[in-house]
Symmetry: D2
């Protein structure tokens, strides 16, 4: 999940966020950006390219916290804009029913998902985007993969903390099976 | 469900359709056309206005058969275009998981759904449309209702065969509750 | 949602919970307890009967917080046991995909859901129970209603904070429509 | 999908079924039998072992047609009993929302699913079973696999017509990811 240095007024100060993280599950949203054709079929999947602290490259889904008094769909929209830029034109789903719920634990092995910083519970959605994507913040690039490429071990192995498992769930949910 | 006199070459001749209808369940798709805002929230629901054989007016969802060798998403697209016109720009969902399955029986009371002509099983989807809707075929008009209006007894009572029940399920699925 | 005075060691002290509640969304699970027949069809819905501080009677679903380092399915199981007793034999679903996500805001009107104490986001599940239910804690009783009774204005009006809306969503999801 | 020689009175005679199969999509249900623990987590998956006409062994999910005037949940129950025996005690889901819809085409490549006999559209469900499974009819055995074994190429390759793809979708839906 993306490391969030949130400095907007009204958001949680850093030390309070740290304290909360050690005491309760933190609510996240995650989005799998996709291109679809006219019949709704997924033609490609967008993955963020990130540079880790050690210089290693990794790929990630759009992800971030839900803030106090923020609706889930507004959090989705905010993180999509933060990660894909202002003209990506994401189609946030009409229903809040997620395709899955991913549970990130600070300890390894409890679930396929892992986040050393915290216990995060994430509502995951498929989000078609139709506009031009210009990654911002800490992402170097957004790369589009065919469903078959996105299902490959090479791509999945470049995803950390269980994002590869979540991507597999997303691909299965939209019927992309290889 | 719409009465379909299908005369395109390759489709089922009328008497064979009648025979099949008395022998096996017929697969349908149904779509609830909605307008959504930027955050994906449903702002209005589109209902077809139809004139019954006795002159009575009724409201209906987009509905029709899946043909032999036709994908569910292509059937959805075809019926949306048939009922809403060529520039409605429907967003067929990326996942085939329907929000519900409606079972129309020729006998009353087995389920909330009823179709005197046949046993039809229908995969139901919420479909945002962004373009201009110009109803064709046997529909007089497409009327947009607010979620609250669409939930009213007045509107629901103008829907037949269980379409009102299906609309209630759709509204519940997208969190429109009154 | 149930008021939770949690005193088990390791849980959040009361003042820290209050502080967290004013700073971030709190993750909840909710369960709609149902009886089903052999074909899985819902035959009755169980609602908790509670006595409010002013002596007014209200009805509620099973509901409670997810704790730090607790899986969603373990939280569901814990709250079901807390509210229905140790021999209710709940069938927690195999998939974590909830039928909906309910967003309770401390301000009225943002969503159909309201909780004056906090911003809570709740994953909602239908849970068949097959055993004997003996409500514990602050619930006076668990009363079973037919789907038609549970859909009635009389019952829905006795539910607070949006639990009536959530029950309507649950009934729609399982095809109980009146 | 299982080859069904249905001779019960009232069912479709063999030649009429053949004719219908060439003219319209045939509605199927499919069930993935699973064992779950008290928290609902899948601990094993049951696959039918079948002997093909050429002597080759294959593995399959529970699968079969929905008959005229039969509810989807009754068709599920009937095929579960047919394939797993009378004391398997399957828990047919309370909601008819399938985890996916599988489209089997007589031509290869249109979807991941293939059935040379027909165009079949199948509603797929995860079904926990708690009783003793005694395969009947044309199945030699029902073998239970751990989620990890069921995800292995060895098992998936023994499944035909896309049942391996459907099993992958089922495993992803219940969060079993390897």
């Amino acid at each position: 999940m993306s490391d969030m240095t949130e400095t907007t007024p009204g958001w949680l100060p850093h030390d309070e966020l740290e304290q909360a993280r050690s005491r309760m599950p933190i609510l996240y949203v995650e989005a799998v950006p996709v291109r679809v054709d006219d019949s709704g079929e997924v033609t490609s999947i967008g993955l963020l390219l990130r540079m880790g602290s050690g210089g290693a490259v990794s790929r990630a889904l759009v992800s971030g916290r839900v803030l106090h008094h923020e609706r889930v769909r507004d959090a989705l929209l905010r993180h999509l804009e933060k990660d894909l830029g202002p003209v990506a034109l994401p189609r946030v789903p009409a229903s809040l029913q997620p395709f899955t719920v991913a549970e990130y634990f600070p300890t390894l092995g409890a679930t396929p998902f892992h986040d050393p910083r915290q216990h995060a519970v994430s509502l995951a959605y498929i989000v078609p985007v139709t506009g031009d994507c210009r990654p911002r913040q800490d992402a170097l690039d957004l790369v589009w993969f065919s469903p078959e490429e996105a299902s490959s071990a090479m791509v999945l192995n470049e995803m950390h903390g269980g994002h590869g498992a979540l991507l597999k769930q997303a691909l299965a949910h939209v019927g992309c099976l290889f």
